[in-house]
Structure formats: structure tokens, C-alpha cells
Symmetry: none
Subunit: 155 residues, 2 copies
């Protein structure tokens, strides 16, 4: 294989395959040591090869006992639909349109009624007490990250 990043990618994927639950937890410094590279190279590998879009979820903790945890998530069949919704949203989103989208997600069985209500509450102009046009931008941001969560959360 050509370069260090590819080798590390391969290695991490092997670890994932070996682990039963499709989850692997590493010490950044330890892996860096093992492959004789700088620790931040791990961040590069993760950022370019283990993103949400690639079907992985990454969590980490700093400080004593810190770690990086990579989880493979099988993105369910709704992914095209949700990607489509993300496209619709763009940089700003009115409350009305937001409600339409939430309604659509509910009807398409991507969220439950309660989840829909929670999302609507988070996107309500009462909660988002800032001026237009920032409010609509903020609403878009929030809904986009919520959709990402839905995309990469197994039921």
C-alpha cells in the first residue's frame, strides 16, 4: 500500500472487523507510536476516511484515560431520502418549511411522533429568540445536525 494514511486506515478497519460490535477504541499516541508517525496523523486519517458519510461515528475524550472510539454504523435505507432533505434545507429555513420537513419525516417513518414534536420545539421561533435572517440560518443548522443524527443512529 502506498502511504501511511492508507496503512493506518487499513489497520483500523481490520481492528473493526475483528471486533464483534463493529467498534474500536484506540489511544491516539499509541497508534502513532506503532506506525512511527505524529499523533495528528490519526486525526487526518479519521477526518478523511472515517467520516459520517463513510458510515462511521467517531467519539473521543481528552485527558487522562483519553481515547478515540470509532464505530461502524450501517446507514439505513432511509439515507437517500434524508440526503434529499438535507439538500432541500440549504443555508436557511423558515419555520413553515421546517414543519413540513418534520411532518414528512414522520410520514416516512424516519421519526416518531414524539421525536417530531421534540424537533419542532427545538426549531420553533419562540425558542430561537434571535432576529431574522439569522434565525432561519440557525434553524437550518440545527435541523441539518439532527438529520445527521437520525442518519447515523441505529434504531
Amino acid at each position: 500500500m502506498r502511504n501511511m494514511s492508507d496503512i493506518i486506515e487499513q489497520y483500523l478497519k481490520e481492528l473493526l472487523a475483528a471486533s464483534d460490535g463493529e467498534v474500536v477504541e484506540i489511544k491516539r499516541a499509541f497508534i502513532a507510536e506503532k506506525f512511527d508517525c505524529v499523533p495528528s496523523q490519526l486525526n487526518y486519517v479519521i477526518k478523511t476516511r472515517f467520516t459520517n458519510e463513510h458510515g462511521y461515528m467517531v467519539e473521543s475524550k481528552r485527558g487522562g484515560g483519553g481515547y478515540i472510539r470509532i464505530t461502524k454504523v450501517e446507514t439505513h435505507s432511509k439515507s437517500e431520502y434524508l440526503a434529499h432533505l438535507k439538500n432541500l434545507i440549504g443555508p436557511a429555513l423558515s419555520q413553515q418549511n421546517a414543519q413540513h420537513i418534520v411532518q414528512s419525516m414522520f410520514e416516512n417513518d424516519v421519526i416518531t411522533l414524539k421525536e417530531g414534536k421534540i424537533i419542532n420545539a427545538a426549531l420553533d421561533r419562540e425558542s430561537l429568540m434571535i432576529e431574522l435572517p439569522f434565525r432561519d440560518q440557525l434553524r437550518a443548522k440545527i435541523l441539518l445536525s439532527i438529520i445527521d443524527v437520525i442518519l447515523y443512529t441505529e434504531e
Copy 2:
């Protein structure tokens, strides 16, 4: 488990689970001895993992026969518990405290894992791209309306 603080947290939670009334009373120095750490580490563990936001109450006494008593806050009824959380939130809310509250709601079966992730996404500082201190105020507002929704939504 990774570090001393996590181990002690785990230990205390086991004690709590074992105790009938969800109350546990410890001798700080004794626990420190048991885990071979300095006594003040117990204070750190308590301050970071057994706060009100986490759903615990802590009392203590110094001097001879001193103790630290940790009580898991009784979630009498769902509505009382949620009212209690709303009290904790106040006019502004850090991301950390927000996560503690979401964690507590999950542990108290008020929300599901997915709902928790959705809420966290909505409250994340990445989504809430405005400056402090407004961001913390906004986060408080959003979580308050979400809690209201949970309060008034039948499962």
C-alpha cells in the same frame, strides 16, 4: 475502565444500586485509601459526575464521624422530575450541563437514546453558531421547550 475517576464513579454507582433507598454514605478517606488515591479525588469525582444535573444530591459532614452522602434524586413522577430539571436550567445553560441533563433524562427513562441524540444535536455549540453568552441563553430556551414537549406528550 480507563482512569481512577471513572472507576470510582462506577464503584459509587454500584453501591447506590445495591442500596435499597438509592442512598449511599461513604467515608472520603476510606474510599481514597481503598483506591489508593488522594482524598480530594473523591471531591473531583462527585463534582464532575454526581451533580444535580446528573440527578444526584450530595450532603456531607466534617469532623469525627464525618461522611459524604450521595442520594439519587427520586424521580417521583415524570412531571415532578421534569419540573425539577426546568428549575436547574434557568436563563442560561452550558453545553456540558445540557449533556448532563440529557443523560439524566435518558437514565430516568424519560427519553430514548435516539431522542437524546437528537436533543444533543440541537443543543450542540456547532449547531448554535452564535456568540456567548447568547448561545447559552438560546440553549436554555430550546431545552426548556423540549422538556415541555416531553412533559405533554403521551408515549
